[in-house]
């Protein structure tokens, strides 16, 4: 392949070091990526049962190494690319895309390689679907790294987050990418983004078994212990609250939508390959599990995220602030009729209709006895599809009291008016 003039050209007369016969070419030594610590002998049971320490793989690292191989190959630095690819597949033998690239770089030592996965024709035929998936995975990974959101931009669904939402997640299904944010005082900060897989049948889950990933605004509802799961799920699982109240209103069925990892045989999965879950490579999932809080972490899943400057959301934000204010004042007023006007006729609260729910609200108002209700830690998540929906979460305190409840409301826009179609404590 390409020769470096400097190193090859000047062979001093008395330094036949390049004579491959006298000094056979040394195999380049590849030191192991990390070392395994020696096993410890415990005289007492360890306080926390740990799996045997494995080489720590940082989130996003394998992909970064793969991209580096691409970069070197693109610069015709094939020998270096080959070395790095060899190290990558040694550390991640189950990273099928990396194996494919490694195969290409090996084949490229002896013949022209014309495409990613330039396998012999019979193999290409026999493994055509898999080959297509790997090529797609490659293309999506590269695209996500080339086409990045501008710094400071946020997905349009995050109208406002509260201090309780320390982190947030957004998924762009068409790009097979998950974005992890930290919610700082200065706003959302992108921490990391990862390649993901979604449902075999794509997106917009509507029914049980349709093999689709749902679209909408969700929250992480729990964190499942990986030891209680089959190894199919990899390092763990973070279920999300599909169906949310908008899904329920629309009659959508199905359940068990999780963020989870991959089985031992696969480092990552094909872009459209799951039963509806969002699947990540295990190191990436592990970072998320270590980072986010359950119940307070919103997960927005869109077919295609729209990234906006936070300032551009300000007018929308203050407009809805005014709406929420109106509802708040109605509640504080103690006037049931005034309050009820804020709810849609098809309102539900955990199965109760408006008719069933109104007496409960009446009792609550009576109990307030004119005291003020304080609302704090408000977050607004905006979901726009065939309708405009706002998912509002806040803490509700009786003024003077120390304790309160966390409430979630789902609002829908009817014309120029916003009304609540779900409300409940969470």
């Amino acid at each position: 392949m390409f020769l470096s003039m400097a190193s090859w050209l000047l062979a001093p007369p008395d330094a036949h070091a390049k004579d491959p016969v006298r000094q056979p070419a040394k195999a380049r030594a590849h030191p192991p990526a990390t070392k395994k610590p020696a096993a410890k002998i415990r005289t007492r049971p360890a306080p926390v049962a740990r799996p045997p320490a494995l080489p720590v793989v940082r989130d996003g690292e394998a992909e970064a190494r793969l991209i580096e191989v691409y970069r070197l190959a693109g610069q015709a630095r094939h020998r270096e690319a080959l070395r790095k690819a060899e190290a990558l597949v040694r550390d991640h033998p189950n990273f099928q895309l990396a194996q494919l690239v490694y195969g290409d770089l090996l084949a490229g030592q002896i013949r022209a390689v014309n495409t990613l996965g330039d396998v012999p024709a019979p193999t290409a035929k026999a493994a055509a679907p898999l080959l297509a998936e790997l090529r797609q995975e490659s293309q999506l990974r590269l695209q996500a790294l080339r086409e990045r959101p501008a710094p400071g931009m946020v997905p349009s669904q995050f109208l406002a987050l509260s201090p309780r939402n320390k982190h947030a997640i957004a998924v762009d299904a068409s790009r097979s990418r998950l974005y992890l944010f930290e919610n700082t005082a200065a706003g959302l900060r992108l921490l990391a983004d990862y390649y993901i897989s979604v449902g075999k049948s794509g997106v917009e889950k509507a029914a049980e078994g349709d093999l689709r990933t749902p679209l909408g605004v969700y929250f992480i509802s729990s964190n499942l212990d990986p030891k209680s799961l089959r190894d199919f799920y990899g390092s763990g699982a973070l279920p999300i609250n599909y169906p949310n109240q908008l899904d329920v209103k629309r009659g959508k069925t199905g359940s068990g939508i999780w963020l989870h990892g991959t089985p031992p045989a696969h480092f990552s999965r094909a872009p459209l390959s799951t039963d509806g879950c969002v699947v990540l490579a295990n190191p990436d999932l592990e970072r998320i599990i270590k980072t986010v809080e359950i119940r307070n972490t919103p997960v927005v899943i869109a077919n295609s995220l729209k990234w906006v400057a936070p300032q551009s959301l300000k007018s929308e934000l203050s407009a809805f602030d005014a709406v929420l204010q109106g509802w708040h004042q109605a509640k504080t007023s103690g006037d049931l009729a005034r309050l009820t006007a804020w709810y849609t006729p098809d309102f539900t609260s955990y199965g109760k209709t408006l008719t069933e729910w109104t007496p409960l609200m009446q009792a609550e108002l009576k109990q307030l006895g004119g005291r003020d209700i304080q609302i704090k830690d408000v977050s607004y998540l905006r979901w726009t599809d065939s309708a405009d929906t706002m998912v509002v979460t806040f803490g509700e305190l009786i003024k003077g009291s120390n304790t309160g409840r966390t409430k979630r409301q789902y609002w829908t826009r009817q014309g120029s008016q916003w009304k609540i179609f779900f409300e409940g404590a969470i």
Binding site: P20, D104, A107, G117, L130
Partner: protein, 375 residues
């Protein structure tokens, strides 16, 4: 310490060896100084001075390959690519057995993005030693095998169905005791003569002593007299110096003779391959030089007429490829016969034929004295 020659592992031409040994024995330090001086000037980046010294040296010894090589390096480093290419090309014409000039030509061609020429030059470099070609081909087979394994892992194939196992080519002779013992070689330097006599077979000082069968204990003879492969060049000078001594103490004949013969077979094969490569590369100088003075042109042509004919048939083609297979070599003293299958392909023409080349040893080279089609 005499400068180690900057050469390959094949025996040097007689004249060159004379020159070299004369130099090493009479003025052991002179050449070392000259090459070293120019070399260090080059390394220090003092190219005009280096070039001047080299030119001065070459004025007196214009054919010296090592200094010419250094000159080519200087030309390269000073950006005189055309001159450098010419310099190295001439060296390959005069010394087609050296890999280094081919390598540097490849570097220069690659710098000009002439990658086909670069590749051809590197293939010539590899073919200066048949073992390189074998190792290189084996490496290619291994790469193919590794690629196939990686693809299997990528596509989750069972691995059972990954094609034919490549059988790597074994190099069968290094210096082997199992080669047929030839009649004792004409001791070109049998007598414990002064250095000059040993000249013709310098990497093999032991060989000429073959006829005297006394298994005298000689401190481990470089018992690979004709091994083109390992060891030869770096130790040529000291060995050459030792030669007179070795000649006096005859080396164990038995291993030496068959070893020399095995070496001769390899030399013949290498010469045949070099001839085919020269033909493929349309390197007329090297091609015609493969044929000895006593070559018997076919069809009663004169030598000159035959050369004209060959030139016309070769240079006129835009592309020639000559591939040899099933090469069988039989050596008897200074004569040999090479039989092989020749696949000739040029432009739109493809011809396969069985060829026989009668070869003779002239000095250190094997040349063709008769070429015929058929076994």
């Amino acid at each position: 310490m005499p400068t180690r020659a900057f050469f390959s592992y094949r025996p040097l031409s007689a004249a060159l060896r004379m020159l070299f040994l004369a130099a090493t024995l009479t003025a052991p330090l002179a050449h070392a100084d000259d090459y070293a001086d120019v070399g260090s000037l080059v390394r220090a980046g003092q190219y005009p001075e280096a070039l001047a010294k080299a030119d001065k040296y070459l004025a007196g010894k214009p054919r010296d390959p090592q200094m010419r090589f250094l000159r080519g390096v200087i030309q390269t480093e000073t950006g005189k690519t055309g001159d450098a290419i010419a310099t190295f090309t001439k060296i390959t014409e005069d010394y087609p057995e050296l890999p280094e000039p081919y390598n540097n030509l490849a570097v220069l061609y690659a710098g000009q993005s002439q990658f086909d020429k670069a590749r051809a030059a590197l293939e010539m470099a590899i073919r200066t030693n048949p073992s390189y070609a074998t190792a290189h081909e084996n490496l290619g087979d291994i790469y193919a095998r590794l690629a196939s394994q990686a693809y299997s892992k990528a596509l989750q194939l069972d691995g059972a169905n990954t094609g034919v196992q490549p059988k790597l080519a074994l190099i069968r002779t290094l210096f082997s005791a199992d080669s047929k013992a030839p009649p004792p070689q004409k001791p070109a330097a049998a007598a414990p003569a002064p250095a000059a006599k040993v000249v013709p077979v310098p990497p093999a000082p032991a060989a000429p002593a073959a006829p005297t069968v006394k298994a005298a204990p000689v401190a481990p003879p470089p018992a690979a007299p004709a091994v083109p492969v390992a060891k030869a060049p770096p130790t040529v000078p000291p060995r050459a110096v030792e030669a007179p001594v070795a000649a006096a103490k005859p080396a164990p004949a038995a291993p030496a003779a068959p070893a020399a013969n095995a070496g001769a077979e390899k030399d013949v094969e290498a010469a045949v391959r070099a001839w085919a490569e020269a033909w493929s590369m349309k390197n007329m100088n090297a091609y015609l030089a493969s044929y000895g003075q006593s070559f018997d042109p076919p069809g009663k042509q004169t030598r000159k007429a035959w050369e004209e004919d060959r030139r016309a048939r070769i240079v006129g083609k835009s592309r020639i490829q000559v591939k040899l297979s099933n090469i069988a070599v039989a050596v008897q003293g200074n004569k040999a016969t090479a039989r092989f299958k020749q696949d000739y392909s040029a432009d739109t023409l493809n011809i396969s034929s069985r060829k026989t080349l009668d070869m003779a040893r002239v000095g250190e080279h094997w040349v063709i004295v008769r070429e015929s089609t058929g076994s």
